[in-house]
Amino acid sequence: MFSVARRSVLRQARTPLRLSHPVTVPQYSALSRLLSTLAVLEQKDGKLQNSSLAGITAGTKLGGSITAFVAGSGARSVADEAAKVKGIEKIIYVESDAYDKGLPENFAPLLVENIKKGGFTHIVAGVSAFGKNLMPRVAALLDSQQISDITSIESEDTFVRPIYAGNAILTVQSSDSIKIITVRGTAFPAPEVEGGSATVEEGVDPKAECPTEWISEDLAKSDRPDLGSASKVVSGGRGLKSKEEFDRLMPPLADALGAAIGASRAAVDSGFADNSLQVGQTGKNVAPQLYLCAGISGAIQHLAGMKDSKVIAAINKDPEAPIFQVADVGLVSDLFNSVPELTEKLKAQ
């Protein structure tokens, strides 16, 4: 009787061992070994664009190792600078003026070569003009269905993104072996830029030919904070009536608050403000601490770009304007009186 009991106890003890060994252990090690993120950093004139660091934060949420990638003339010094960013294990740089303008025709093959060489499972980039232009081309070359503009990560293959101008939130699971993702900067705050110590390594350069020639650029010069990352934004709409009024009323208010200036599509279309200031589904997405808007009715395309702001304040003379449904503080008033008054009183503080 005793021997029977001993045998069965032994058998019981052995069985789970035999079963668990081949099933669970390799699975865990495979996951931690395989999950590795490549974050594509953006540089301009040899300077790291901090807005592109949101990809690092996304990589941190994914788990696994994070490698960053940068290319252009001066990429080595950008890599050295980015090496201090917390969370990055390694930085791959490719030093060549062929990549200075981020043209996707040669930048995409460059990325693809380095992705294949490094065996990365997740490729992330910020939703900037650079990321939007480049990443789908990379995805197509790798035969992967990109996931655009994610706002949250559920797991290594499941992501959350807004659709229909933010009127619906979609959760999708990707079956692709390489996941190409662009991340919304306002949903993934930039990591600390000090305290890290990544190793810097030179990448492969396939030297693909670029059939596209970069001719020129014309960027609006501004001393104000960048619209995409400002903590305060003041925004004007059609209610301002003309470019002269826009220029007379909005900049002083922005300066009194230390805010960036934004605009609705109506204001941009009417020529009151530059297109790069447009906030909304087809413009920029912002999520500042304070979004103060004047003369904006609140069309769904505009709300798509700003409704994640912490506090929304609106000045509009129409009490029925939809903007008041999302505004934390609403003032029904003629903006031509209240905006200058607000500017004066804020300055006096």
């Binding site: 990109q146 229909y164 101008a165 939130i169 596209t212 960027l219 995409g228 609403g330 003032l331």
Partner: protein, 255 residues
């Protein structure tokens, strides 16, 4: 060269003015008995193609293309009323697996090859999925140059110069045909189709095809787990004057 062969892909989407509602099962946005229209960015594409012809750029043919449910032929007729010469409709029934941007790009590559197109003008994004991928993916698959978010397009002697909207301003690039261009809002002001042109469009050729005709199998790579409504914002307060606004903003910690 006998003239440009322009392909303009268009998509049928819920009209931009309609507020989309998520269905009760949280699997999709409600599309039954909701007004649909041509994706606004695609209207700009077709308008630009027609304007190229009007600007005396030699254009051999403008072909409008759509992959979607049977009703997508309505927007192809609209495109033909604006000025496309003919249409191609790849019918994808609602019950069938829907094409993702990568699938559409693969399909378009085959269409470009069979139609011998040398310029493809697409919208920069569709306002339903908001992905903004198809044009870039197509350019990658064809290994053609691309210019995204175009606000100005000039073509002379096979060379295309495009002004693009970028963060903080504009950028100009130049490339030789063939090329893929995606349109941004400032590119042009699409015209309304006139009644005579709508009547004429009914007589234009519209080919019906299936994915099998292009020998394409592009099963979805992304599985929809759920679709939900965004969290609503809490209703705010209205203040009476500027002083009230300042003190309320201070109370909320925004100043």
């Amino acid at each position: 060269m006998s003239g440009l062969r322009i392909l303009v892909p268009v998509k049928r989407v819920i009209d931009y003015a309609v507020k989309p509602r998520v269905n009760r099962a949280q699997t999709a946005v409600e599309t039954a008995s909701v007004k649909h229209s041509m994706n606004p960015f695609d209207e700009l594409s077709i308008e630009e193609a027609v304007r190229l012809r009007e600007r005396k750029v030699p254009v051999a043919e403008i072909v409008a293309f759509s992959a979607g449910p049977p009703k997508s032929q309505d927007i192809l007729r609209t495109a033909m009323a604006i000025g496309a010469d003919r249409g191609i409709h790849v019918v994808v029934e609602e019950k069938d697996p829907q094409l993702e941007p990568l699938g559409v790009a693969k399909l378009l590559k085959k269409v470009v090859e069979s139609e011998k197109s040398d310029l493809v003008i697409l919208g920069k994004q569709s306002i339903d999925d908001d992905a903004g991928q198809t044009g870039q993916m197509l350019a990658g698959l064809l290994n053609w140059p691309q210019a995204t978010q175009a606000s100005k397009v000039e073509i002379a002697n096979n060379t295309v110069t495009v002004t693009k909207e970028v963060d903080g301003g504009v950028e100009t690039v130049k490339a030789k045909l063939p090329m893929v261009i995606t349109t941004d809002l400032r590119l042009n002001e699409p015209r309304y189709a006139s009644l005579p042109n709508i009547m004429k469009a009914k007589k234009k050729k519209l080919d019906k095809k299936t994915l099998a005709d292009y020998d394409l199998d592009a099963p979805p790579r992304l599985k929809i787990i759920k679709v939900t409504e965004p969290p609503p914002r809490k209703g705010g307060v209205k203040v009476d004057d500027v002083d009230g606004m300042i003190s309320k903003l201070k109370e909320l910690g925004a100043l």
